[in-house]
């Protein structure tokens, strides 16, 4: 069969096939190249000291402890606020809403939010939280900005897992005399945990990698902020991503930047893999239900 086609067709086939393999090769090479290069440049400076000290001219240390702490604070604050809101919205859409048009509008709003670029979030966050709510450049203003940004993710994943809960569960609970809220609390929510967890993981990934939305809201300070004061107004601090940008672009300290890049890359890979596992659990249940 293959010998019967003309030389020209053969050549064309070969060319296209080569291109396909070439492009796939480019992707794999690019990833391995990026990983290898970041390890090569970032690993030499990575030490316990680097992770556990603050930058100080007096002690002559350059550490990223403040940035690690700030990243953790912002993740915690964002999740604490966004989880109830996102889960609440998903429950409303899936369990309560009767008006199809309204559901459409809310879903459109969610789509709109997820399409807005982070620099606009940064700007609007600055206008609303930093200035209008007079929180000042602070971790809490940054976290509130990220709440709006990560809300669509939480809503989407929670909704996906709510949809997989069979209606018979709900009907069974209601038939036994449970009120709707009781039913949601005891039947719906426990069964939606995997979707919520996936949403959390994806949001954490987005927060860890975020820089444009945080530069003008959470600021660029590198001082240690303690847990008890992390949620106060005017307590500014930069996360790892923002710090990477500052070290690379403003100060030209590329070795520090690459070490932060190494940490960020490892974090995002861990997040990516755990999101996959959580997602797999979700899909498994879906298949079992079908």
């Amino acid at each position: 069969m293959e010998d019967k086609i003309s030389e020209k067709r053969k050549f064309k086939n070969m060319l296209l096939n080569t291109l396909v393999y070439l492009c796939a090769g480019i992707i794999v090479l690019m990833l391995t190249g990026i990983i290898g290069y970041i390890f090569y440049r970032g690993l030499p400076k990575l030490s316990l000291d680097f992770l556990t000290s603050a930058p100080s001219l007096l002690n002559d240390t350059v550490g990223i402890l403040p940035n690690i702490l700030n990243t953790i604070y912002i993740i915690l604050m964002t999740l604490v606020i966004v989880l109830p809101l996102g889960i609440g919205t998903a429950i409303y859409l899936n369990e309560y809403a009767e008006n199809k048009k309204l559901v459409g509008v809310i879903e459109l709003a969610t789509e709109t939010l997820s399409g807005i670029p982070s620099i606009i979030y940064g700007l609007v966050g600055m206008l609303i939280f930093v200035q209008f709510c007079s929180l000042g450049t602070s971790l809490v203003a940054g976290a509130l900005t990220l709440v709006i940004m990560t809300l669509p993710t939480i809503i989407r994943t929670t909704q996906e897992s709510l949809r997989t809960i069979p209606n018979s569960y709900r009907e069974g609970s209601l038939a036994l005399g449970a009120g709707k809220w009781h039913m949601i609390r005891t039947v719906v929510l426990p069964n939606a945990v995997d979707g919520i967890v996936t949403g959390c993981i994806l949001s954490v990934g987005r927060i860890v990698g975020e820089s444009a939305a945080l530069m003008f809201t959470a600021g660029m300070a590198n001082n240690i902020v303690y847990l008890f004061e992390s949620f106060l107004p005017e307590k500014a601090g930069s996360t790892l991503s923002v710090a990477l940008y500052m070290y690379a672009k403003e100060r030209g300290e590329f070795e520090i930047a690459f070490t932060i890049a190494l940490i960020l890359m490892l974090l995002t890979f861990i997040i990516n893999i755990s999101a996959k596992f959580a997602g797999r659990a979700l899909r498994k249940r879906k298949e079992n239900d079908d």
Binding site: C23, T112, V124, G209, N272
Partner: protein
């Protein structure tokens, strides 16, 4: 008994009210963002003048006689995005074909994992790599005084849009019904011809969605572009240092004041309108796909 019932009823009502308000909150956020951008963005456009703001090619916000024309930013964003699409989309589609059709399942899985990992890398890391690898490379290759220009930005953006282009179009390609391919194979077309003349055209709408998604990502990217594009308010040229709409906002925000600051909000408003238009197109194409 009756009192218990009433109490339960009131509780249920309260819970319903809470969940409903969560739903409305999302709409509220969108309105809030739009209103804040409009309130802060419109005054400067009015003061500078519509014509002068959009069609003047000179941006000199800190000059003694300031000029606020954002045409360079608009054109740079458009050229940069187009360039990224021209470079990134063909590679992305080829790779999607590889994942969905050509590769054995295990290899396909490995490559799509690589794509997912690439998607997870933060934009500042891409920016850093661009600064250290691509910018010097472009400078050496074309013998330029400085490699931080539109071309470098296009390369970095092309890499950044690849993951979303690949994953969306490979999903679309593998969703094409088998019968189409079988019919083509039965007529004597080779496997490769079938893929490129039947399968890919049949997945066209999904691929269009992927491209629009890529455009949205490229036009909204700020940090990586800031690190590699050189950040000078020139009209775009392939080897000229440029500023995108996103980086125009980001680069002057920290020290701006007065009309200059307001003009930055206007730029953000323009960017927001661009993005909303792209999302609208995206929604329409996705909906059409579903039907």
């Amino acid at each position: 008994m009756k009192s218990i019932k009433n109490k339960v009823h009131a509780g249920e009502k309260a819970v319903k009210l809470i969940f409903t308000s969560c739903g409305f909150l999302i709409i509220g956020f969108v309105i809030l963002i739009t209103v804040f951008l409009l309130i802060n963005g419109i005054p400067a456009i009015r003061e500078i003048g519509f014509q002068d703001f959009f069609f003047n090619s000179k941006w000199a916000s800190t000059a003694a006689d300031p000029s606020y024309g954002i045409l360079p930013f608009i054109m740079s964003s458009v050229y940069g995005t187009l360039g990224a699409v021209i470079v990134g989309v063909p590679i992305g589609i080829m790779c999607a074909v590889f994942i969905a059709k050509t590769a054995p399942p295990k290899v396909a899985k490995a490559v799509s994992t690589a794509v997912d990992l690439l998607a997870g890398i933060p934009s500042v890391v891409y920016g850093l790599l661009g600064m250290i690898i691509i910018v010097p490379f472009v400078r050496e290759l074309f013998h330029l005084p400085d490699g931080a220009n539109l071309f470098s930005a296009i390369l970095v953006l092309a890499v950044m849009i690849l993951p979303s282009v690949i994953s969306v179009s490979s999903t679309a390609i593998s969703a094409v019904p088998k019968e189409y391919e079988e019919a083509s194979l039965a007529l004597g077309a080779t496997k490769t011809e079938t893929i490129f003349k039947v399968t890919v055209p049949a997945a066209k709408s999904g691929i269009v969605t992927a491209v629009v998604l890529g455009i949205g990502r490229a036009i909204g990217e700020a940090m990586a572009v800031m690190m590699v594009a050189g950040n000078v308010a020139n009209m775009p040229g392939l080897f000229k240092s440029v500023r995108f709409l996103t980086t125009a906002v980001a680069s002057e925000m920290s020290y701006s004041a007065g009309l200059q600051r307001q003009a930055l909000f206007s730029i953000a408003l323009v960017l927001f309108i661009f993005i909303t238009a792209i999302n609208f197109i995206l929604n329409v194409t996705v909906k059409r796909n579903k039907e």
